[in-house]
Amino acid sequence: MPKDQGIGASTKRREDVRFLTGKGRYTDDINLRGQTHCVFVRSQVAHGRINAIDTSAAEAMPGVIKVFTAADFAGKGGVPCGWQIHDKQGNPMLEPKHPILAEGKVRYVGDAIAAVVAETLEQAKDAAEAVVLDIDELPAVVDMKAAVQGGALVHDELSSNLCYDWGFIEDNKGAVDEAIKSAHHVTTLELVNNRLIPNAMEPRAAIGDYSMASDDYTLYTTSQNPHVIRLLMGAFVLGIPEHKLRVVAPDVGGGFGSKIFHYVEEAFVTHAAKVVGRPVKWTCSRSESFMTDAHGRDHVTKIELALDKDGHFLAIRTETYANMGAYLSTFASSVPTYLHGTLMAGNYKTPHIYVNVKAVFTNTVPVDAYRGAGRPEATFQLERVIDKAARELGIDPIELRRRNFVQPNEFPYQTPVAVAYDTGNYQATMDKLVEIADLSGFEARRAESAKKGLLRGLGVNCYIEACGIAPSNLVGQLGARAGLYESATVRVNATGGIVVMTGSHSHGQGHETTFPQVVAEMIGIPEGQVEIVHGDTANVPMGMGTYGSRSLAVGGSAIVRATNKIIAKAKKIAAHLMEASEGDIELKDGKFSVAGTDKSVDWGSVCLAAYVPHNYPLAELEPGLEETAFYDPSNFTYPAGAYACEVEVDPGTGKVTVCSFAAADDFGNVINPMIVEGQVHGGLAQGIGQAMLEAAAYDENGQLLSGSYMDYAMPRADDVPFYKVDHSCQTPCTHNPLGVKGCGEAGAIGSPPAVVNAVIDALQRGGYSHVTHIDMPVSPVRVWSAMQG
């Protein structure tokens, strides 16, 4: 009998009432008294020297309050990077300034040069067109390898376009080289992890407000982590102490990583609000978001996998070029390094692994974390090269994987790439996959496709991810400039209702439903008695926000910890009310009772006593019932699973149709199965989108060719099949109180290799044996061209 409340119940998402009826309150819905509007003048060339900016005509136009240029930000900092990487030799990465408005040079199409603040949006747009730019266009660097081989310097003050050349782990390199040299077989694959544009449904927006009366600032912004923005912008960019700066991230319509970062527009509106003495609002247009939101992925990799004669993995060596774009975005440097290199062991026992990453500046939009962030890149390389090796050695790809799995009795498992997996069962998820994907029926389905003249293929892969980001002491050693704990305050009201203030931020994940399920279960009260508050630095203790599938594993753990403090105090109060010993008090179904007696007092009476302490142990206990907790994880969590995709390829056109997709995931314990399945569905759509459709493309001059939905293909409902998803294989996380691992990114991480493996399988079975790899997206033209040889 499924539960209808608490942990394990598929409670319907309470936030959907407002989202589905248009009652959400997004940043653009907020309009402040006296508000002005801001439009940015953006570079139309990828690289150029700014000789002069003439704002005089624009400033004389109707409604214009002020036109800003870099000169208006003299003495202010640049937008900082939150993670310092050290290269092979131990030198810190190159870290150029990222100014709020371009200083001296423009470095990508979309780089902000000037900004107009006017009474109305139309007036600001009109004036932005009247700003006269004198820019000498310079040669642009777009290709990463060209950029490090003597291409134009993106930053004149740097010695090179190579941000860092990172080796991981440098001590492993000798053994890896030796193992590859002497191996029975080495499979080599060169591949591209295609550049993506995030495309959250809600474009970014920001409103800056300054109060002369109290000398404080408020920023409303589309952010996944308002405290991080407050810290970065206050401390590093504008020099505003945190007690004078409030950051509010109200309803946010999707982030996928792209709203983690501190963007220049946020600093601009905050500073400009004080300069003009009125609130300044900016809302990104969709066209503008294509060329200013941090893009994702964009890796070019060579991977080598060494195997013995029985197919056991001996060593992995990779060399990756990772695009940083023109500036270092907030977490850009960590994505191709610690979020990527640490996952190169996958679900397998490979004794020797060495990862080399060259991070490169180019004249393109900054690149940073996007759903999965580094882990999809690792998974794609590994699961593609394993498939290729299986074909080369004549071993069934599922069997080859099983042969190399970390076995269920081998946990905890220390990988050669720093991380240690606490628990897992990869055989179990593979068994489940074989069942739900009906792999035994594949040949019959292939015959049916053949009758229609279509080539059917089957692709399987595994994945593992490091989630629940992150143990602060570990990431601190690795260069993170912030802690990655989470916070929660549980405030019990006098009549028993509860408000939980969490440092996690919900922008589609369903926290407002899931978190109350946890608290309600712990106390034994209805979920409806618990409310979640998030997204406002004025109301919530300092937290680190939502990304890296961390909200339940880290934020939820903080909530559990705070709720346990509440329960402990409530038991003391109950003991006093019942004149019993605290040690004899039991809490069940919202009722405190004295063990072995029929005495009890309900939740509401204890809460009332805490706030109306007429009969209360005031000598020993403070009144009130409110507790705060912080939780810092001791390890990452390691969700893992096995995915299968079947495709049909139309040999006449190269068109690929995804016929079926099955996902068997191990997320540990699950709080709300419906929400977990929804997260997997969304992730799969994004992963299939990457594999089949999405590609950010620049021409050789750095112009964005895929600058709108006319050329950038997002997955639509009819591009994806009905999924078969299963999360019944559960090895609970061993080190957080809920035993949860996180599910937000799995679908996007695990699905691209299954799609490509399936396409290659279809072509191989169809007689196109020369096709061993096609880069994503596996678009019709690419598949057809590959088939032609």
Partner: protein, 262 residues
């Protein structure tokens, strides 16, 4: 969007007069023009909407048995109202864009714009239709003059399009994955006077007739009849979604599929 005036005349004569103003533009469904204006890429002084002209809306039968479609008829209306008499045309109209586009966009707007990847030009050229304007009739073979260029004079309005009904016809469209316009679309019509094959989306010169295939199909209306033919890649569009060689392949494959479906 810049400021502009808006007029919605009730007759063709009033529309022609309104379009006499400098930089005035005719507005059909606005599916291309309005987004261009929103991006400040177009700045007409006035928009003259044609959708209020009753005589330009709807589908009827002409004295010569042709299917007559008013210039301001939406794609959705063509899909519904032409289905009985000219199912291939109705199917084409019913697969343009999405429901919002089909209930706004008009046949006259699409033809006057002559987007090289639009569907209607293939149907009009493939059917050998006649474009009737406020002052003349133009044969389809004389109407399309290259990318976004037609035989229309400034201020000239497409009042009606007259489609002779073929014996058999079909449109086979291969969608560009992002826009879902035709990466290549082929309209094939078999008439008493032979077969016409019109291709959209593929050529740098816009919609065109594939003469070689027409001859082969006039002799033998089957997919196999053109199995040995090929289209040169020269002059085919090259972009993110297709190479010239790929589009040349699609011309043949989509022609075969249209013949099979007809």
């Amino acid at each position: 969007m810049y400021e502009f005036d808006f007029e919605k005349p009730a007759t063709v004569a009033e529309a022609v007069a309104a379009l006499g103003r400098e930089d005035a533009m005719a507005l059909g469904g606005g599916q291309t023009l309005i987004p261009s204006m929103k991006q400040r890429l177009a700045a007409p002084s006035a928009l003259v909407s044609l959708t209020g002209i009753a005589e330009m809306r709807g589908v009827c039968t002409g004295d010569d048995a042709a299917l007559c479609v008013g210039g301001a008829t939406t794609h959705a209306a063509v899909a519904a109202e032409a289905a009985g008499r000219y199912p291939a045309l109705a199917a084409l109209a019913g697969n343009i864009g999405d429901p919002a586009v089909r209930n706004r966009g008009t046949i006259g707007g699409s033809l006057a714009n002559n987007d090289p990847a639009a569907d209607y030009p293939a149907a009009v050229l493939g059917s050998g239709a006649t474009i009737v304007t406020n002052n003349r009739s133009i044969a389809a073979d004389d109407f399309f003059e290259g990318l976004f260029t037609t035989a229309l004079e400034p201020g000239e309005i497409i009042v009606e399009v007259r489609f002779p009904i073929p014996e058999r016809a079909a449109y086979a469209k291969f969608q560009q994955p992002a826009s879902r316009f035709a990466l290549t679309g082929v309209f094939v019509a078999k008439t008493a006077n032979g077969v016409r094959v019109a291709v959209t989306g593929a050529s740098e010169s816009g919609v065109f007739r594939w003469g070689e295939a027409e001859a082969a199909l006039s002799a033998d209306f089957s997919a196999d009849a053109i199995a040995g033919l090929s289209v040169p890649a020269d002059g085919m569009v090259s972009d993110l979604h297709g190479t010239p060689a790929y589009r040349a392949n699609l011309v043949k494959v989509m022609t075969q599929r249209a013949v099979s479906a007809a």
